[in-house]
Amino acid sequence: MTLIRVQAAEFDISAESKALTQERTDLGGLASFVGVVRGTASGRPISSMTLEHYPGMTERSLAAIADAACARFALQGCTLIHRVGQLLPGDQIVLVLTAAPHRQAALDGCAFLIDWLKTRAPFWKKETFTDGSEAWVDARESDDDAAARWGQFG
């Protein structure tokens, strides 16, 4: 079971975990990652972060990434929820859940998903600092490196 959502609203990891695992007795482990808005950027305090995306391509990209993860790690299910719009420091941004028969597949599948999502899904972050100035977040080479350790996409 693959669930993909792009939404402005908050998500509840407990409810999503339950939705992924309920009425199933074949699962061996559930791994999760939650991305959170940091309160500083380059040492400066931010007041908010705004996430923009490409409706349509976002969902297609997330579905392709989820399919690749399910096939590669033999996942029994995964959930990808990404928030958009204005978020505040401490807010949750992204949820990745993976279910598998054994822990290693669940953990590796979860890491693969967040690494690939950061480099292959069309989202862009803009930070608003407490002094009112704004700046688009630059892509990091370290994110490309993290994705590259899994090899070629597809």
Partner: protein, 83 residues
């Protein structure tokens, strides 16, 4: 063609989307980026550093040599920063 712009490309060109015919003589993404650079100051600012511009054609990531047709949806944006 339907052209979409996101993030700082959208801010610099001053619009999020527009419809325009595939310019005469343009056959691929690299050619369209060069054509965009010459449309005015906002476009020059958006497309001037071509290595920072990413492109999708019909909602799939494209490369400079991806061919274009008049019926395509083409999107330009900076490197993605989600997650």
């Amino acid at each position: 063609m339907r052209i979409l712009y996101f993030a700082w490309l959208r801010e610099r060109v001053g619009t999020g989307e527009e419809d325009l015919p595939l310019p005469a003589g343009i056959t691929d993404v690299a050619g369209l980026i060069v054509w965009m650079q010459e449309r005015g100051p906002g476009f020059a600012a958006a497309f001037g550093q071509a290595r920072l511009v990413r492109c999708a054609v019909n909602q799939d990531f494209a490369t400079p040599d991806t061919k274009l047709q008049d019926s395509d949806e083409v999107a330009f944006f900076p490197p993605v920063t989600g997650g």
